[in-house]
Symmetry: none
Subunit: 200 residues, 4 copies
């Protein structure tokens, strides 16, 4: 009587996480209940506990997966030589409506991490990964002379991540004009902060 196909198990887990993500986006991290998730996943509350030991575990797995996906998108972006264009297309005007709830979720994750060590660990791991990607990218771009060779690539990565967090924050603080302003701020960061000396 051995455990059934571990592959199927993992598959179901992912299926549940997809349902959970939909709920989290719609209702928020705390706002989405186990019932909501079960209903969305089409399973019973009892059954959910075969796959996840607690709501926390769902939240952790969801955050890990969600942040992983974000990292993948960043990797794509980092691989694009036209970083400004890539960034803009990622934050592009027509995507934002769909993004609003994703931004909300990202701050819920940050807020959660600020209180909850398990979530903090998830976030820290994610940050390390993202930073590594960014640093590598900036080193490459420095070689090509597109950004200031004097600047520490790791610092540039941190600045960039900070800028994006800050812009997301701005999108919450002042929703009406976040887009245009985000663009301006990003442009300033890229041209003044990172650009090579002669082009500043």
């Amino acid at each position: 009587m051995r455990t059934v196909d571990p592959e199927k198990h993992e598959q179901k887990r992912q299926q549940i996480l997809t349902a959970a993500e939909r709920c989290f986006l719609r209702k928020g991290f705390r706002g989405a209940s186990i019932s909501d998730i079960c209903a969305a996943a089409g399973i019973s509350p009892g059954h959910l506990y075969h796959y996840f030991a607690s709501k926390e575990e769902i939240v952790d797995a969801m955050a890990t997966r969600g942040l992983g996906e974000a990292a993948t998108r960043f990797a794509h972006m980092a691989a694009n030589p036209d970083i400004v264009g890539a960034f803009f297309s990622e934050f592009g005007r027509d995507k934002v409506r769909h993004r609003r709830s994703r931004i909300a979720l990202s701050f819920e994750i940050v807020a959660e991490a600020a209180r909850n060590p398990a979530m903090a660990k998830v976030l820290r791991r994610h940050y390390a990964h993202l930073r590594e990607l960014m640093t590598g990218f900036f080193r490459e771009v420095q070689k090509r002379g597109q950004i200031d060779g004097q600047m520490d690539a790791e610092l540039a990565a941190d600045i960039f991540i900070c800028a994006m967090d800050g812009i997301r924050c701005l999108a919450v603080r002042e929703p009406s004009k976040n887009l245009a302003r985000g663009t301006d701020i990003l442009k300033a960061v890229l041209t003044r902060l990172l650009a090579p000396a002669q082009t500043r």
Copy 2:
């Protein structure tokens, strides 16, 4: 024989808000219950509703006051000609341990605002106020030639607020080295982004 001192009423309100803030810092925005706040304020649950019509209203008043205090600190900072020094002392190493829960709260507020229109309104109001203060300050400093006269003062304010949000985010993402890194980032923002052309 006039009606009872409205001053006392306000005093009690503030007393409750102080208790509420303590609870919010300790347990978080959603985590702190009305009961917690009442217990901390030393009043009965029913009595709280003589002073605030709902939990939302407490949150509103609390956020307004809390953010008001932040504005005051910024105003002080802005009045100090040595902006870097002022900023660093405000975000100084020895204050941060004490600040950790305050940072957590600030992101809880942002996360809340991303879902809850009432909270969004509070945040927007505060942002407008803060931005105005910052802009005025930057205009003054520009006159004195300490930052780039070419840069739009309002944009500088937005960048500064973004930078600080981003640094706070970093403090959550990577708690171990946030301080040093925050300092570096801020220095970069100030010297490369805002500094006058000849000093860059």
Copy 3:
């Protein structure tokens, strides 16, 4: 240091009752709170307890007064030889919107009386009074041959009161057509039940 003018005391009581009635009509018997009544009367909650020992007492006094006023209206109606016309003008189409909440209140009083002995007493007293008025009226009308001389006047009074309660009930059960139907029913009661034999 003797009690102040008992006349003023009674005047204030009546003033509070008027405010209470407004609240009861608007929000219902149980729905209106002491706070509502105090606000409407322009006094403090504490002060209200100088005039009434409890909410029950207000309710009792209010019911007594309200039913007394109803009795007065009935007395008027009973004094009018054209009873049908009088009844119709009392239940007239244009008055009904204003009446709806009064009907609600009347059933709240009945419902209350069915559980609460004090209220039952109030209602019983009122009923005795009303019945006496009606009986006298029917005796008079019988002398004039406008209704069946064979019928016991007291029974006629009870039937009439029953009919009006039933019609009011109908007005709640089926609000859309209560008026026309009430008229039909009343007409049937008057012509078939009470009319003298030869005119039936």
Copy 4:
């Protein structure tokens, strides 16, 4: 391995409704709390919400069932050719003591319906059903010549329901002699209002 018996679900629902009815009869409509009902049904407060989404829904189901039972009783009554006998046995002296709280409840429902649209809807639905039954019955009896063929059967139904509401009201207004008086009034309604011309 199908999902669990939906029959059991319905059975539990009915069990809860029975408990709720007991509570409503004992403490009244507003007086009976969710806790009371849960205690009476032997379930936890949380569990009740697996079966009913709100107190309103309980009330709705309870009223529907209770009024449905009333309709069944009426249907029985209507099937009995001796309508007077049937009615009297239904409202018979020995049943009334047991009925007192049921009468109270019926007026609480009417009072509730006068304020609460959801309750009004329930009552309206029931009234339409009851009226239909009554009308059909009267048509049948008219064919047999036991009541006046001239009278509109629907009007007769309305009159009958009004009479019964009025008599129930009387039972609250003057509890001591309601029974004898109710009998007299009903007799008058039946013989004078509904009886065929030659027997009046």
